[in-house]
């Protein structure tokens, strides 16, 4: 055909446009990753600062420790991370890396809060939630936890991907004897497995809540 070259030129131009689009998409995705990484670093510093503050204040007053800002930061980070997962993909290496970092930050916050509660004779109410991407009931459990977090600002929720390849999470799983049947919850140290309705969870946390002082913690995935 006489103008076959035009068909080929068009193909090349179109491909170049696609490559540019891929490049732009990648460029902005990297910017986002860097943004999240920076937030995580900031939270790590804040956590370390809280820990240090806690160590200093151990002997004196418990009232001076303010952890509410940190809880909000973790909350925002969680929802941004889950939005990254939907946009870039749950299998993306960088997303997984950020998720690991986020999980460690959550564990550190959880430990700090427990120690703080013990030291200051307070009983902060926390829910640790394990989910998996392929778990049927996890979507429903996610709705329940989002609802609870919105309803009870004093409640701290921590969310972990059960299958995340991270030793700290694995330790948390084995220490609390979390079964493979998900979803699973640890409410104030006690493990519950299988889907729990909002009524069931409320029954457990309601009597404990007035003592808790902080605000919400994380976004609820899945």
């Amino acid at each position: 055909m006489k103008n076959i070259s035009k068909y080929i030129i068009t193909f090349i131009i179109t491909s170049l446009l696609f490559v540019t689009a891929f490049y732009l998409s990648n460029y902005f995705a990297n910017k986002k990753t860097a943004d999240i990484k920076a937030t995580e670093d900031q939270i790590a510093i804040d956590l370390l600062s809280s820990e240090t503050q806690f160590d200093i204040l151990k002997q004196s007053s418990c009232n001076q420790l303010d952890d509410s800002i940190l809880a909000d930061e973790l909350d925002t980070l969680g929802s941004r991370l889950s939005s990254m997962e939907t946009q870039i993909g749950t299998d993306n290496a960088e997303v997984i890396q950020l998720k690991k970092y986020y999980s460690i930050l959550q564990i550190k916050d959880y430990l700090l809060m427990s120690a703080y509660g013990k030291e200051c004779k307070l009983k902060p109410v926390s829910i640790v939630y394990f989910y998996a991407n392929d778990c049927q009931e996890c979507q429903k459990q996610g709705y329940v936890l989002t609802y609870l977090r919105d309803t009870y600002p004093g409640l701290r929720t921590y969310t972990f991907d059960y299958n995340l390849d991270l030793s700290a999470v694995k330790t948390l799983i084995s220490l609390n004897k979390i079964p493979t049947t998900l979803p699973a919850l640890i409410i104030n140290g006690k493990t519950y497995n299988g889907f729990m309705s909002s009524d069931a969870v409320e029954k457990i946390i309601k009597p404990l809540l007035p003592i808790a002082s902080s605000t919400s913690a994380t976004s609820i995935k899945k």
Binding site: F18, S25, D35, Q87, N92, Y143, V144
Partner: protein, 415 residues
């Protein structure tokens, strides 16, 4: 390694095809930009050779508009002794016949009445009753610009040119839906011109395409052709290697459907007609001897229909999924909604499909703006926004229905 889903493969393939289509048009336009400039410069040069021309107006219940149509033809700048009009009343049941009686004394106009048989029969009836060099048709809901024919005639100086298509505009758009069509038609003017440079025009529009008389002698008369006789004859001309030109400054004004329902009906007829005619003329596809119509116009039109169908399926699937999640949420926690708004950069999509989508829109807008420029319009207007907003939502409706009609053998009606 994550494998791409069927959904994302479909999205990227469709986007690649859409981009390819637009880039191909742009490349062709650039290739012919000097020719276009020259055509514009010589458009209103003095015409010395006026061949005899007859315009046939087939009417079926057109009492409201037929007079205006005839008057617009009579006021055209063309020698009276070379120009005649044939009005064929195709068995109207209203007062069309009485209305056209007014013109019975005019030597330029012949009036006929026949039993209702459909538009193509009225056209053929008129063609059989005249001997002009050039024959055209004008729907009774369309009007011509006074220079239209004069600008089209010079294209016939080339002995090979067998038909010339005009540039169609929407007549005085009023409703929202007509304003959107107004823009669509301007984009159409540009695309038609480029198709012309590719020798790949696949429709010789009902309103005012001018044919050489010998076209009908060589390849026969109009056919029913699934109520899209203007598409069928164009394909038949390509099959017989007859050249179709386009005059982008021969303006014809047509009354656009003023409601979504009427537009939907019109487009179902067009799209269904395209599918049926494309099936009838499948022999044209990918045959070297037919050039760009075989490799570009027809395949891309067919693929665009498939893409729309795929998009409909994907959208329905997504909507069902969202509804399912919504119901699941309500069943789990009841009516409890608490929206957190976080205007972070993170939430802006940076998917590749977004950038490609923007490229597709940008190329389309570029073609539209050039289309507006060559058809003597302002470069920008607010109607462009109506077009961009409304077409992605309504076009899938008629494409879906047309495919449905084809699969289940349903016929479309004129009205």
């Amino acid at each position: 390694m994550e494998y791409p889903s069927i959904q994302s493969i479909f999205i990227y393939v469709s986007m690649f095809i859409a981009t390819y289509f637009e880039v191909f048009l742009m490349v062709t336009l650039l290739e012919h930009k000097n020719k276009l400039r020259q055509e514009n410069a010589t458009m209103d040069d003095k015409v010395t050779n006026f061949p005899s021309a007859t315009i046939i107006i087939p009417c079926f219940n057109e009492e409201k508009t037929v007079e205006g149509t005839i008057h617009s033809l009579l006021s055209m700048d063309y020698p009276k002794d070379k120009f005649s009009i044939i009005v064929v009343d195709d068995g109207s049941t209203d007062n069309t016949w009485q209305y056209i009686q007014k013109f019975v004394q005019n030597p330029q106009i012949s009036i006929y009445k026949k039993e209702n048989g459909g538009k193509y029969t009225a056209l053929n009836y008129g063609i059989e009753r005249n001997t002009s060099d050039l024959i055209g048709c004008l729907d009774a809901d369309s009007f011509v610009d006074k220079n239209a024919l004069k600008r089209m005639v010079p294209y016939f100086n080339n002995k090979e040119t067998m038909a010339v298509t005009p540039a169609i505009k929407i007549f005085k758009p009023k409703s929202f839906i007509q304003c959107a069509q107004y823009i669509e038609y301007q984009l159409g003017i540009m695309i038609k011109k480029i198709f012309c440079y590719l020798n790949a025009i696949h429709v010789t529009p009902g309103p005012f395409t001018i044919f050489r008389r010998e076209v009908f002698q060589k390849i026969g008369m109009f056919k029913h052709a699934h109520n899209t006789e203007d598409m069928e004859i164009a394909l038949r001309m390509h099959k017989n290697h007859l050249k179709i030109e386009n005059c982008h400054k021969a303006y014809i004004y047509t009354v656009g459907p003023n409601t979504i329902k009427k537009l939907y009906k019109q487009r179902v007829r067009w799209t269904h007609g395209f599918i049926e005619n494309a099936i009838d003329y499948k022999a044209l596809f990918f045959k070297k001897e037919y050039g760009n119509i075989a490799f570009f116009t027809l395949p891309f039109a067919a693929v665009s229909i498939m893409t729309v169908i795929g998009t409909i399926c994907l959208t329905v699937w997504n909507v069902v999924e969202r509804i399912y999640n919504f119901i699941l949420r309500i069943m789990t926690i009841g009516f409890h909604f608490n929206f957190h708004f976080d205007p972070s950069f993170i939430y802006f999509s940076t998917k590749t499909s977004l950038f490609v989508g923007l490229t597709v829109i940008a190329l389309m807008l570029t073609l539209l703006v050039i289309g507006r420029k060559i058809s003597d319009e302002k470069l920008f207007s607010k109607e462009i926004i109506y077009f961009i907003i409304i077409y992605p939502f309504i076009a899938p409706l008629w494409v879906g229905k047309s495919v449905y009609n084809t699969i289940f053998g349903k016929k479309t009606k004129w009205r």
